[in-house]
């Protein structure tokens, strides 16, 4: 190197150092700010309207409910002092409430607020998107400021799960005082949670500050949360790598393995009972009006290779509506319609569409929870091997849902992140008068009876046999093609302490601290 070049290099380095350009200041803020990156821009923060799981990561830090899902996936008390006392008929749920909770506006939390919040959500004129899920609530009775009773019209086990995710308690009279728009766009001082809403700049970020009067002492450890909206997978990853974000949700599957061994980065994933991925086939429309054709499709799809090669292990492959790791997983049912090319050919040969085996599959063109297009392409090639031609039609998720709800689709791929209840998807797809009933066109009195029976039980000893029976019924009729369960995955920097993926939400930030 010549002197001139050396001099030039030294000058450049000095200039860069002088301008402080060598490295941007570490985004790991010293002021206790927790930076997180979420892929989706919320459309609302109203706890009775949120349907997007990234929005729930924020709204559930502002609002709380009587129960919550802990980091191990258990339903535990939150604003309730303990789990509810349930009568023998499982129709009366008595909650004892905490006496030390105050709202962010300073008002004391009482049973009046719980009754007000639930009755507001249940009122049809308020158009809560989750109202139908709580429809069995017949009456809410206040016994004392710290005791409230929910009377249900029938045993309905899942509603405690729904409570952890789809509702939040707000102060009595707050809707009239603040209006629904405040809940939707700027819910400042309206919850009891650890985070107080500060600002929301659409497409950019949402800011929360620490609730100084939070009832859990010493929590949260952060002083501020900056939730950045970063839809691009690679950019979200770069945010993590550069320290602009401490925690990211939905890391791209293809990068997840690499992240596990990246210094300074930690990862975690958990199979979510509600994270079901399935091909919703319409049993009223050809060729899926033939059970043999449906079974042929189901047996032709090698779910395990898709899970391994496309989702890099972030999909728990199963042909039944149960993850393989849960106690009610029915292995025999899985095997009956699982991958078996020879069986697939035999079913196709018995089908009335053996000579003209083709159909159209609607696939979400914009990823929701994960990108399903690659998986669809692999399925297309697997089906072609047994002589079934599948035409892939990319379509946006809302459009697919519209068609499915109207029952006008032949088949569509649906990724859903439902509450962690084993019957949620089955209830909405395969029983009468539900939102997705027409998408399958399938009902079965035996299945209805089994679902109703399952509502009576909460203990595994009695519930598991019923759930296994439900799987057996669904495998026999094969009304749709179950593909597997999606894991909730996060990646975070090593400085972050107290964080684990939570199956109830895409991100649970309350207990996080910055090491």
């Amino acid at each position: 190197m010549t002197d001139l070049n050396r001099r030039l290099l030294l000058k450049s380095a000095a200039l860069a150092a002088g301008l402080d350009l060598i490295r941007i200041p570490g985004a790991f803020a010293q002021d206790g700010t927790l930076n997180i990156a979420l892929p989706n821009n919320p459309s609302t923060l109203d706890p009775i309207q949120t349907s997007n799981h990234d929005a729930m990561a924020i709204s559930n830090a502002i609002f709380e409910n009587l129960l919550e899902v802990d980091l191990d996936g258990n339903v535990v008390p939150s604003l309730a002092h303990k789990l509810p006392v349930i009568n023998d008929e499982a129709t009366r749920f008595t909650f004892d409430l905490r006496d030390d909770v105050v709202f962010q506006n300073g008002a004391k939390f009482t049973a009046e607020d719980v009754k007000y919040s639930y009755e507001y959500m249940l009122d049809p004129k308020n158009r809560s998107v989750r109202r139908t899920l709580f429809a069995p609530i017949k009456e809410i009775v206040i016994e004392s400021p710290t005791r409230i009773v929910f009377n249900l019209s029938q045993p309905y086990r899942p509603w405690l799960q729904y409570m952890t995710k789809f509702m939040g308690i707000f102060p009595k009279g707050s809707r009239e005082a603040k209006g629904d728009d405040a809940f939707k766009l700027a819910p400042a001082d309206l919850g009891t949670g650890p985070g107080v809403f500060v600002t929301w700049q659409p497409d950019s970020h949402i800011e929360l500050k620490r609730n100084p009067n939070y009832w859990r002492k010493g929590v949260p450890a952060w002083s501020r949360v900056m939730a950045r909206i970063v839809p691009e997978d690679a950019t979200r990853l770069a945010y993590l790598m550069t320290g602009q974000a401490h925690i990211i949700s939905s890391p791209p599957p293809r990068d997840f393995e690499r992240l596990k061994t990246t210094p300074g980065i930690q990862t975690g994933s958990k199979v979510a009972i509600g994270g079901m991925w399935f091909m919703q086939t319409n049993t009223k429309r050809a060729p899926f009006d033939d059970v043999n054709f449906r079974k042929a499709v189901s047996c032709a799809i090698d779910r395990k290779s898709i899970a391994k090669d496309v989702f890099y292990g972030l999909l728990d492959a199963t042909a039944t509506p149960a993850p393989t790791g849960v106690s009610y997983y029915n292995a025999e049912a899985d095997k009956a319609v699982g991958y078996d090319p020879e069986k697939a050919k035999a079913f196709l040969a018995k089908s009335k569409y053996a000579d003209k085996a083709e159909f159209e599959l609607l696939v979400p063109s914009i990823p929701y929870l994960f990108d399903a297009k690659d998986g669809a392409l692999v399925m297309q090639s697997q089906l072609a091997k047994i002589g079934i031609q599948m035409k892939i039609t990319p379509m946006e998720q809302p459009q697919i849902l519209t068609r499915a709800i109207a029952g006008t689709q032949v088949a569509c791929l649906l990724p859903l992140m439902a509450p962690s209840d084993p019957t949620f998807i089955i209830q909405i797809c395969f029983t009468n008068n539900q939102i997705m009933s027409k998408s399958s066109g399938y009902t079965n009195p035996e299945l209805d009876a089994a679902i109703q029976e399952s509502y009576k039980y909460t203990d595994a000893a009695r519930l598991d046999p019923v759930l296994k029976k439900i799987q057996a019924i669904l495998v026999e009729d094969c009304p749709n093609i179950f593909l597997g369960f999606v894991g909730v995955a996060n990646a975070w920097r090593a400085e972050v302490k107290g964080f684990k993926p939570n199956t109830g939400l895409t991100m649970w930030i309350r207990d996080v601290s910055l090491g």
Binding site: I24, V129, D203, P231, A238, T402
Partner: protein, 311 residues
């Protein structure tokens, strides 16, 4: 003066025509925004009620006239999805996008014009070959991929720039400029290629012209000749640059998404995802207006550079 007035009026006519076409096309999308607002569980009755409340059940022509009437009074309406005032959304996001486009445009001009002139002056020499390589890369590399590579290099690798996000001027000039550097390069490189090739071609043609040869023969300085050459060669470059300025608003959509910049293009993309009809129409109209303004300025520059066109 009358010519300018005529151009302004014709631009307004284009805006009206675009608004009609846009309104019709957007309303032809089969999915109701009610489905996005109320969620997949909403009943058909809920959907109908939402549409009734928001006037979406009216004929498209009635909806258009109602919206156009509001626009004439400065009211662009409210988002169907989050009820935000659209004028506020645009006033918050337009400056961000405009700044990004202006930086990219300046970057493109500052690099492309000298590069084009040099390669025309030094035809088939190394600088010409270099310019050709830059141009080929510029038009070949997809903007989103370039953006990701710049993030990998400049943010993750070197740590000199943030991986994304927009830092306002109020947070300091340095962090602001750092946050705009990679997006501007990402957006501008394609136009470096386009404008440099156009400059080279145009300057090359003028260099062959008789008047340049005569100027050289008369012993005029290289600097003086360059001024004459540029005056004659820049007219097509101005036209291409103006078109590029308009197109940049479209490509900003990709760049803002990759770099998570809360600009107008990103707002448009989100509005498209959410079926937010009114936001789509208003934002596209603003972009159209920018395009028309850029072309109007190009027309004026064109007349200044080549007074014959004014006649």
């Amino acid at each position: 003066m009358f010519v300018i007035l005529g151009r302004v009026l014709s631009s307004l006519g284009v805006l009206v025509a675009v608004s009609i076409v846009l309104f019709t096309l957007v309303h032809a999308i089969p999915v109701s925004p009610a489905r996005v607002v109320l969620g997949g569980d909403a009943s058909e009755e809920d959907i109908a009620e939402f549409e009734r409340d928001n006037g979406l059940d009216r004929p498209v022509i009635v909806q258009y006239l109602s919206w156009a009437g509001g626009v004439m009074k400065g009211d662009l309406g409210r988002s169907l999805i989050d009820n935000t005032v659209i004028a506020v959304t645009i006033s918050q996001t337009l400056p961000v996008t405009l700044e990004l486009v202006l930086w990219s445009f300046c970057l493109a001009l500052v690099i492309a014009v000298p590069l084009g002139v040099l390669s025309a002056y030094h035809e088939d020499r190394w600088i010409d070959h270099l310019a050709r390589v830059v141009a080929t890369l510029g038009v070949s590399i997809p903007t989103f991929w370039l953006g990701l590579m710049l993030i990998a290099w400049g943010a993750v690798g070197l740590g000199w720039f943030p991986a994304g996000g927009y830092v306002p001027w109020s947070a300091g000039a340095k962090p602001h400029l750092l946050s705009m550097t990679l997006p501007s390069v990402s957006l501008g490189l394609y136009y470096v290629a386009i404008i440099s090739r156009m400059t080279r071609s145009s300057v090359g043609d003028v260099l062959m012209a008789d008047h340049v040869r005569v100027s050289r023969a008369m012993g005029l300085s290289r600097g003086r000749i360059l001024i004459y050459v540029l005056r004659n060669a820049l007219s097509p470059v101005v036209t291409v640059a103006a078109m590029s300025f308009g197109y940049m608003f479209g490509w900003a959509l990709i760049v803002e998404q990759v770099f998570t910049i809360p600009g107008m293009s990103r707002a448009l993309l989100n509005a498209i995802f959410r079926r937010d009809y009114l936001v789509i129409v208003n934002v596209v109209l603003v972009i159209t207006a920018m395009f028309l303004v850029a072309n109007l300025i190009a027309d004026l520059l064109y007349r200044w550079l080549d007074p014959r066109t004014a006649r």
